[in-house]
Symmetry: C2
Subunit: 195 residues, 2 copies
DNA sequence: GCAGTTGCCTAAAAGCTTTAGGCATGCGCA
DNA sequence: TGCGCATGCCTAAAGCTTTTAGGCAACTGC
């Protein structure tokens, strides 16, 4: 009958990522993917363990892409320049590839996460902080805070939180980066413990 | 046969919220809810339009609970005290009710969102800023940044991002609140536009 | 040109969603 | 107390997704 289509775990993962950007990561389904390759659903199960496995692979792909883009953007930059470039890459990736971005939030089991490009991305965040010198325990707090701001901002923006109200998101983003730079330059020393 | 159970949109919504906290918001299903009431699935469709409607209602319930808790925490506080209390309510709610918290991120259509308790919550964020005086355009940027940090931090924490590594999340959270307070006290003035 | 592997298929079971239509329970009213 | 009617929950059914088992045919390499 029909010739072989040439399915591959690789191709399925890529197509899954594109599908995610089109219809949303949550709507990525083995069935829909099969439809796109004009192939019966069961055929995919030779290349992908199950739906969860497919999503995990898409997530790993997205994390790797994001880390690569960030590494490229960071090359030759330091200080606020590096911070802004890193932040922009993150936000732009999310806006250009909302489905893939959602995939980066897919909960991975600890070993998978530890082997993912996510750790590379985290190391880059820490590298940026070398431009501002913070003592060690504070550095970790700052890394976590940067991650929170970037992820939080992009999530809310993608959810439509900042649209349809002035000032526009572009401007706020720029001010947020300014604020983070200022904050890292004047990182507060620990006060008395809260009650 | 079996007596009437007394289903209500209200009761279904509440039970749905509990279910979300137990198994995760994404796993909330009309079928599972029916099982919990020991009732046939179709019976729920008299009280709830469809699965999406159910999730919307759970989302609205969670937003209202969160806004109520925040309002209570804010009463009689100002400045950093208010900021910390507001932040803690947000984080504690998310940790005690992860499913409901996830529900607060459920995308609502614009009119529904505008009529939700979400706007009340946003207004409270703005009220906190009255303790730090920022000029108007900057105030909006700051509101968005606070929202981003809170949401981002809590999301990452819930996803397990900060567990299994020192220092513990409790400490970072406290430092993040310190940092936000410091930042609001020294909010940077707009620099030259980025190229 | 043959053997063997691999790839895609048919078949089937199980679960979730949603709609249509039916019976009876339990309420209001006489 | 008993009647009528509305409402609440049920049966039935179709359509979709996931996942497994097993089969045939098409490529690969010899």
């Amino acid at each position: 009958m029909a010739a072989r289509v040439g399915l591959t775990t690789e191709r399925l993962t890529r197509a899954g990522a594109e599908l995610a950007d089109e219809v949303g990561f949550a709507q990525v389904t083995v069935s829909e993917l099969a439809r796109r390759f004009d192939v019966k659903v069961a055929s995919l199960y030779s290349h992908v363990k199950n739906s969860h496995d497919l999503k995990t692979r898409i997530s790993l792909l997205a994390l790797a892409e994001l880390a690569d883009l960030a590494a490229e953007a960071l090359a030759g930059r330091a200080g606020k320049d590096a911070l802004a470039a890193f932040a922009d890459v993150y936000r732009d990736y999310a806006r250009e590839h909302p489905g893939r971005y959602a995939a980066t939030q897919f909960p991975l089991d600890p070993e998978t996460a530890a082997a993912s490009a996510g750790v590379r991305h985290a190391q880059m965040t820490r590298a940026i902080l070398r431009g501002y010198d913070l003592p060690e325990p504070e550095q970790t707090h700052a890394v976590r805070m940067l991650g929170s701001v970037f992820h939080g901002y992009v999530s809310l923006e993608l959810a439509g939180g900042f649209s349809h109200s002035a000032p526009d998101s572009e401007e706020t983003w720029s001010r947020v980066v300014d604020a983070l730079d200022a904050l890292l330059c004047n990182w507060p020393t620990p006060g008395p413990p809260r009650p």
